[in-house]
């Protein structure tokens, strides 16, 4: 079917993001849309935003959305709650999560004791914080965890010592506010397992009933991702243009996206590919923090069967 003549025949896919508003991690989807990759796969993709950072998985199960972008820990928790979710592709391939402090601060893991750490109160941060504390040789009771609706003002006002974030958000955020790079401890340095942070997920029933749609979607997203990686400035500008009221500056979007690109491929330069290891590492973290009771076999979480050839 041709793109022009048959818009009526496009299959509609509702894609739910993991955050209540748009930000630069959605750049590949925007790129796929603008470059017509979805349309040429016969898809019409609606991007929707959830009420809060924890509801995307519920929206998938209710059918409010068909395919979603969620953190791997949300994925695991949902499966534990008997929500029939299936992860169909990794978004990023490594763990860039960690601690961020004001530029120029003398904070390290060595003087972590007694410090105030910011958390969004989400499953991911809950799972990761104990690893950091353990690496510092402390117990959770040695630090104060603060949860609030926003971290940056608190950090800059000195109300908290560390905030938690991923490098592609934490660095441009603090750079934008201060003009300097933050003090950061991420990934292995922070003691956290190398678990990818985000995945594309759908429900098992949708995946089996609409296997071709899922495949077509991932194919278009792959093209979008590759395009946005190759044309970083243009892609970031396209995002800014698509969501002018997002509240983020063009500079933030550009820097954030450029920091995201290196995370998208594995050591072999491949996109999307999931492994058993990443899910069992995650299981360990979640069981240790009592966020899930039992650790399912990794294969219950994911399938690489829908991945496009690359």
């Amino acid at each position: 079917s041709t793109v022009s003549g048959a818009s009526a025949q496009l299959t509609t896919v509702n894609f739910v993001y993991d955050f209540p508003g748009p930000d630069m991690e959605i750049t590949p989807i925007v790129a796929a849309q603008q470059q017509g990759y979805f349309a040429s796969q016969g898809l019409k993709v609606n991007i929707i935003f959830p009420p809060d950072t924890s509801t995307s998985s519920q929206m998938l199960t209710t059918g409010a959305a068909n395919i979603g972008f969620i953190t791997t820990s949300d994925m695991a928790v949902a499966v534990q709650a008997k929500a029939p979710l299936l992860s169909v592709a990794n978004y990023s391939m490594s763990n860039n999560w960690g601690l961020f402090a004001k530029p120029g601060s003398k904070l390290t893991l060595a003087n972590l004791k007694g410090k105030k750490l910011f958390s969004w109160g989400d499953t991911w941060t809950n799972a990761m914080l104990p690893f950091v504390v353990k690496k510092a040789g402390l117990k959770m009771s040695d630090i104060t965890v603060v949860t609030a609706s926003n971290d940056m003002p608190l950090l800059l006002a000195g109300k908290i010592d560390w905030t938690t974030s991923t490098s592609n958000y934490g660095v441009p955020g603090i750079f934008g506010a201060t003009g300097k790079n933050p003090v950061a401890i991420t990934g292995a340095a922070a003691g956290v397992p190398n678990v990818p942070v985000w995945v594309y997920a759908t429900t098992k029933s949708y995946a089996s009933a609409h296997a071709s749609v899922v495949k077509a979607f991932l194919k278009a997203v792959l093209e979008g991702t590759k395009y946005a990686s190759a044309h970083q400035s243009a892609a970031a500008a396209a995002f800014t243009k698509a969501y002018p009221k997002s509240g983020y500056t063009a500079a933030y979007n550009k820097l954030g996206w450029s920091l995201t690109v290196p995370l998208l491929t594995n050591a072999k330069g491949k996109y999307f590919v999931q492994t058993d290891a990443q899910w069992s590492l995650l299981n360990q973290g979640l069981v240790a923090t009592k966020q899930i009771k039992t650790a399912p076999t990794p294969s219950t979480y994911y399938s690489n069967a829908y991945l496009p050839a690359q």
Partner: protein, 276 residues
């Protein structure tokens, strides 16, 4: 005298607000407060005016939410009030339930609502209505229950038809408490809309805009947005005051206007000459 009162009632609030804004400016200046912590009034104003093209669609969206939510809340509130005053068993069984609905932290049920109703107008309207209906119900119920019973007897004596007593006696007697309820509801309507927007905005909303401004350390934007939200609420409040004035001429005038109820039915032949 009357002129003086109007003047006083308008000017005094203006003066107190100016004083408040002046105080705010001084605190920022003297306290050497950093721009990312709190803006000056001028900065907050500029954050509104210079982003007006962005803010206006968001604002109008919020207004739309309050229009529907306030409307629904008012209608439901009046309905509940009327039904409960007419059916005693409903009053006894429903009233405690309604009190409990208000004790439920609305922020806590926003998410379930979104799951149920999606991201568009739905959940915001429900939340606004949830907040607005209660004071309206309580006031209408109280009002109807306290209509001078002798007036009802009078209507019976005059041989009133069913419903006539309600519309000609009970409704006008309840206008003042009704508007008290509506004014309270109006004050809180925007709070409801903002809670709804925080819970669910499909991409764009004042609340989300503010959220990102907080993230961006743009305190001027944050305060500016708050001012905008407050302004919407105050507009509703002022609208209710105006409507109340228009609906209750007998409380302020001694002679009916030509076009008002009662005078309207007055044939020209009978228009009196000497009426002051």
């Amino acid at each position: 005298m009357n002129r003086f009162k109007i003047f006083r009632n308008l000017v005094v609030p203006v003066i107190s607000f100016s004083a408040l804004i002046g105080l705010w400016e001084l605190i920022i200046l003297w306290g050497h407060v950093q721009g990312y912590l709190a803006p000056t009034p001028l900065a907050a104003w500029e954050a509104i005016s210079s982003n007006w093209s962005t803010l206006w669609p968001l604002t109008s969206w919020t207004i739309k939410e309050t229009v529907w939510g306030f409307g629904a809340g008012a209608v439901i509130g009046i309905l509940f009030g009327v039904l409960m005053s007419k059916l005693r068993f409903l009053q006894r069984s429903l009233y405690p339930v309604l009190v409990v609905t208000q004790a439920v932290p609305i922020v806590a049920i926003a998410s379930p609502l979104v799951l149920l109703m999606g991201f568009n107008l739905g959940p915001k309207v429900v939340i606004v209505a949830w907040i607005v209906f209660f004071p309206v119900t309580v006031n209408v119920l109280d009002g109807l229950n306290h209509v001078d019973h002798d007036l009802i007897t009078l209507a019976r004596v005059l041989g009133a038809r069913p419903w006539r007593t309600f519309f000609l006696i009970e409704v006008p007697a309840t206008i003042t408490p009704l508007f008290s309820g509506l004014k309270i509801g109006a004050t809180y309507a925007v709070t409801g809309a903002v809670i709804g927007e925080m819970a669910a905005s499909s991409g764009q909303s004042l609340a989300l805009y503010q959220h990102t401004q907080i993230g961006q350390l743009n305190s001027a934007g944050v305060y500016g947005t708050t001012i905008l939200m407050t302004a919407i609420g105050m507009s509703w409040f002022l609208l209710m005051i105006t409507l109340e004035h228009l609906c209750t001429p007998w409380l302020r005038r001694s002679v009916a206007r030509r076009w008002s109820r009662g005078a309207r039915t007055l044939d020209n032949t009978y228009v009196v000459k000497g009426a002051k």
